[in-house]
């Protein structure tokens, strides 16, 4: 009988490599002879990737330009975390492909019709039935905004 040896091999990382950024909660740099009472409780740290990225294979970063989404807390220059695997439901902020560019708006349903709405009164909403070559590229899930 042939033995399956594949389980002896270390698993190959197939997921996109993420570089964990650990913020240590406790250190080991303690004067010799005085072991820290906290050392047994050192946690693995906080990885922001875990917080911001739920589906690594379908998550992409985009840079925001413009002020039409200011009301939603998304500002010019912000970094946007976009997950392409999510369904674009009404209420979600989505990245749409329009006229050869990416557009960021909130998908809404208004009187039974889907439309893209800005979060800024100076921009009119866009009725989706009126533009046939529009497609939803992904759903924005987080915004990273410097203070």
């Amino acid at each position: 009988m042939e033995i399956d040896r594949s389980f002896l091999q270390p698993p190959q990382p197939l997921r996109p490599q993420r570089m964990p950024q650990h913020l240590p909660l406790a250190g080991e740099r303690v004067a010799a002879g005085f072991p820290s009472p906290a050392d047994d409780y050192v946690d693995v740290g906080i990885d922001l990737n875990d917080q911001l990225i739920h589906h690594p294979t379908s998550t992409f970063f985009l840079r925001v330009s413009g002020d039409s989404m200011n009301g939603a807390g998304i500002h010019d220059g912000d970094l946007l975390v976009v997950d392409r695997s999510l369904d674009p439901r009404p209420g979600r902020v989505v990245v749409a492909v329009l006229d050869g560019g990416f557009t960021l708006k909130r998908l809404t349903r208004h009187q039974g019709r889907l439309r893209l709405e800005a979060a800024n009164p100076s921009y009119p909403p866009l009725d989706l039935q009126s533009c046939d070559d529009m497609q939803i590229w992904g759903v924005a899930i987080h915004v990273i905004h410097p203070l």
Binding site: L62, R63, S65, R84, S85, T103
Partner: protein, 424 residues
């Protein structure tokens, strides 16, 4: 439950990656050029429809491309490698076992459901790759790798199949096999194809059904295995744990011919640094190495020379390998030669766990560990802050010979400064 083999690949992979991350390219003809912007190596469906041929030298196609408004891109390996990892990761989550076969194709194993129909599964997988990654994929299903390969071809070539074909669950399987010329069967070389035609075997179905005696006499056990695979016996297992590499090569063409010893030394040093990184990533050490250079084969007076050396102690330490390689550069250099390409080959590789000590060369364990730690630190700095953050001076600071990539797109998925812009 019957096991099914699938061959899944991305259509026009490089061009599709470019279109996936750049909305301006959606629906437009796109071609991608090979190293040094040499030839067309990928065409989007729109570019194919214009009749642009694969492999055409860029300088010949340039006028046509401009006239037709085709978008031209240099090979953007950072993007393709990342998209490939994402694709393979997605496939792995949807099949039972996966063998990554190349940057854009993989063999997979799945079980056929009781009802027998895998097309709903295939359609779902295609939709998933399209939505999550923006990549069009083709899926061929069969009882063996060879059948899956043929099915994949039928999925792509026959428009009504819409990128998905199951040889194990279709009416008229034989008729489809007859549409595949013997030259297009996976594993049939030019000579063997010629031999088959001489014996009246012109397509995949005829190869499957021919007498095995003459085939075995001509093509040996390899030919016989191919025939068995076409008959539906899975003879080639999935290769789930790739075997360790025997050698590692880094070579590049220069953007312009170089003629000075100094520049050749810089180029070789750059390749040694890269090859050492690769060795460390593969957990291997080299016991010997070669360097080579050559002029262009299209220019009269072809010149090519290589030199090798053996290391007393196998190593993956950049400094050790540079010390071994750089003296060889003087042996391969000749003045007044228009050198077009150089390369470094790391040979006789060993796993890092099994270092063979040399009887006469002392090697301090502590010293080795310190060097390993240093290399680790350099690798993680370069991984984290970008290649070349920590650099060896031997590689030179302002190289004019590096690969030509004038139409390089952005590393849109792997570099923060290159991510696409979304208009709000």
């Amino acid at each position: 439950m019957a096991q099914v083999t699938a061959l899944i690949d991305a259509n026009n992979f490089y061009a599709s990656c470019e279109q996936s991350l750049d909305p301006a390219l959606i629906g437009r003809p796109v071609v991608v050029l090979s190293n040094n912007d040499g030839c067309i190596v990928a065409r989007s469906a729109e570019a194919r429809a214009l009749g642009i041929a694969m492999g055409t030298p860029y300088f010949k196609a340039r006028a046509t491309l401009e006239r037709c408004g085709v978008v031209v891109r240099s090979s953007n390996y950072a993007l393709y490698a990342d998209m490939s990892q994402r694709l393979m990761s997605l496939l792995e989550s949807q099949v039972e076992e996966l063998e990554v076969y190349s940057i854009d194709e993989a063999f997979a194993r799945i079980s056929r459901p009781a009802a027998g129909d895998l097309l709903p599964w295939g359609r779902r997988l295609r939709a998933l790759a399209r939505r999550n990654l923006g990549l069009p994929i083709a899926i061929g299903l069969g009882a063996s790798k060879s059948q899956a390969k043929l099915a994949n071809r039928l999925a792509k070539v026959e428009a009504p199949h819409a990128g998905l074909f199951d040889l194990g669950h279709c009416s008229n399987g034989d008729r489809w096999l007859e549409t595949i010329a013997i030259e297009d069967v996976w594993g049939i070389g030019r000579k063997l194809a010629h031999w088959c035609r001489m014996h009246g075997v012109c397509n995949a179905r005829e190869l499957r059904d021919m007498a095995s005696g003459p085939l075995r006499a001509k093509a040996g056990v390899v030919g016989l295995r191919l025939q068995r695979e076409l008959q539906g016996h899975a003879c080639l297992p999935l290769d789930l744990a790739p075997s360790p590499k025997q050698e590692t090569c880094v070579s590049r063409s220069f953007s312009r011919p170089i003629t000075s010893l100094g520049e050749l030394r810089e180029a070789v040093a750059t390749y040694v640094v890269r090859a050492s990184e690769k060795l460390r990533k593969q957990h291997q050490r080299a016991a010997s190495l070669s360097v080579y250079t050559r002029t262009s084969p299209f220019v009269p007076g072809f010149y090519s020379r290589s030199a090798s050396t053996h290391l007393d102690l196998p190593s993956n330490d950049t400094q050790t390998l540079l010390n071994a390689a750089l003296p060889l550069v003087e042996r391969i250099f000749q003045p007044h030669r228009q050198l077009a390409k150089a390369g470094v080959l790391m040979e006789h590789l060993q796993d890092t766990e099994q270092l063979q000590h040399h009887l006469l060369v002392p090697c301090g364990e502590a010293q080795l560990q310190r060097r390993d730690a240093l290399m680790n630190t350099i690798d993680s700095l370069n991984r984290r802050y970008g290649r070349g953050t920590v650099q060896w001076a031997a590689c030179g600071l302002r190289s004019g010979w590096t690969m030509r990539r004038e139409r390089l797109g952005r590393a849109a998925t792997t570099r923060l400064t290159d991510v696409p812009v979304v208009q709000a």
